[in-house]
Amino acid sequence: MSHDPAHGTPPGKGGAGASAPFVASAALGPEAHVMVGNADLFVNWARKSSLWYLLFATACCGIELMQAGASRYDLDRFGAVFRATPRQSDLLLVAGTITHKMADRVKRLYEQMPEPKYVIAMGSCANTGGPFYKDSYCVVKGVDLLIPVDVYIPGCPPRPEALIDGIMKLQKIIMQRKNYGAKA
């Protein structure tokens, strides 16, 4: 693991925004800074490699999610395995239509997940309401009306390849996260 200049602020350029951990590491010398930057990299790498997703299959996309997790597409390669409970999940994969009756439950599931948590809206229904956008009276027009979404995957339903691409995009987002050091 090499030092990545994109992570953290170089010493001496922190300015007024430098927070306490950064100052502490500056006091230890330049090597300490390198260590802080790498800790981010290490933690993010660990997180992206074990993305446990909540098996939250409400509709059609759930079947593609199942098939993506099974023999041919094998989502386990990315460290993504399904969990039955939100308490053990890092990722809420909203796979399917969310109705108004279901809306409160989605919020509660999201709130039950431990930090850091991510959301992927899989399929048109979770993105915008999909084919039910215009004429349905009880479909929530996009899950981002309820909870924050990190990655949107279009498709009705998206193919497993698209889902895998979405998960890889989320892994990129996770790698950019700053856990330690100065906050920009």
Partner: protein, 156 residues
């Protein structure tokens, strides 16, 4: 048994409570009965050995704009014949007796008609909304239903 023969049998037994036979353009044909007589006619349709309609295939509410209707699709596994039964209801007070003690499978269908049309089935053992949340306003499958703007603060 043909639809006309079933209609004649019912007419002979119940008289004016059996109104008409909707045959042309209807598949299967419908026997239109007065709403108050629905339960007696149903029981007869099920228990008469010549008819023995033992399965209620489908129960649907219909909004014909000027009036409501409940349509029953019946099928007999013993006799292998089918018929429809229909009862027209006034728009203001749509209510009729339940048939869930004749065919126990009617309960979910009746709850659905209650939920989406507001049709009341008197004497039902369990008449609650089934598909929509309890606090939903209005009955969506009515022709004059206006979509709400918000539900619990979320845009509909």
């Amino acid at each position: 048994m043909e639809a006309q023969a079933i209609f004649d049998t019912l007419k002979g037994k119940f008289g004016d409570a059996v109104v008409e036979l909707q045959g042309e353009g209807f598949s299967p044909a419908f026997v239109v009965v007065a709403p108050a007589a629905v339960k007696e006619v149903s029981r007869f349709l099920k228990e008469d050995p010549g008819l023995s309609f033992d399965v209620l295939m489908c129960l649907s509410g219909v909004d014909y704009k000027e009036k409501f209707a409940v349509a029953y699709h019946l099928h007999s596994l013993k006799r292998r014949h089918a018929i429809g039964m229909k009862a027209f209801l006034p728009r203001e007070t749509p209510s009729l007796p339940t048939v869930d003690d004749v065919w126990p499978g009617a309960n979910f269908h009746e709850r659905e008609a209650f939920d989406l049309f507001g049709i009341v089935f008197e004497g039902s053992k369990d008449l609650r909304r089934i598909l929509l949340p309890e606090d939903w306003e209005g009955h969506p499958l009515r022709k004059d239903y206006k979509y709400p703007d918000f539900y619990h603060g979320i845009k509909v």
